[in-house]
């Protein structure tokens, strides 16, 4: 099992999913994130899926669950970097991912978060692209 690192930058938690995660690692990430949102009082969670080649129903459900959970804990979740082929496939699979906010890339995701949750943009710009 792989443990996905969670970075904290200012008031925002950043997760960059690399490679192909097995289902147990996906569930572990979900739990780790919930804990970190509470422990840090983060106002935003950014999940970068630029490197993710497929999103199936299991990963899709994890993304929705994280969004719902963080909303409950007063944080906003934004999924960034979804590949076009992944988006096309998700629609055909029938996953609506309702309630999930997305942005094309990390920069746009941070900007979106800045608008809604007044995240510390100066800190975040250090992350770069």
């Amino acid at each position: 099992m792989d443990r996905v690192p969670i970075l904290k930058i200012g008031d925002v938690l950043l997760v960059s999913i690399q490679g192909d995660l097995d289902d147990q690692s996906v569930l572990t990430l979900q739990e780790d994130l919930a804990e970190r949102v509470v422990a840090t009082g983060a106002v935003g969670v950014i999940i970068d899926i630029t490197a993710v080649e497929i999103v199936d129903s299991f990963v899709g459900r994890m993304l929705s669950t994280i969004a719902g959970m963080s909303r409950m804990l007063d944080a906003e979740t934004i999924v960034v970097g979804m590949r076009p082929a992944v988006a096309i496939t998700l629609v055909e699979l029938g996953l609506s991912l309702g309630g999930l906010r997305t942005a094309l890339d990390l920069e746009k995701g941070i900007a979106l978060l800045g608008r809604t949750a007044s995240a510390p943009l100066d800190d975040l710009s250090a992350v770069g692209q």
Binding site: L21, D22, F58, T89, E92
Partner: protein, 130 residues
Amino acid sequence: MEQLSITSNDDVVIVRQKVRAHAIDLGLSLVDQTKVVTAASELARNTLVHAGGGQACIEVVQNGMRRGLRLVFSDNGPGISDLDLALTDGWSSGGGLGLGLSGSRRLVDEFTLDSDPGRGTVVTVTKWTR
């Protein structure tokens, strides 16, 4: 032809990786690669979760000028008593989204579901090159 056994979460990852490698070899477009790997992921997980494990078989098939990738997922699990219900969007016997079977049917060109309650399930899907 490649035969893989599915008995753990790691095996589901391996099925995805092998199917992707074959799809690339075959020259499927990026979107079609993504679709067939996603379908394989759903079906391999069903084999593991609903049947307690089984097999995946990956095979390149030919029909005239066209070549295709055929995937067969088979198990000796409990089977499915109502195939139409199982293929309904949103129907799940457990806590799933109920999109694995119905969604993967939309992602491939050919899809067959055979099941004998009490004996097992075979799902066969094919994606053709364009």
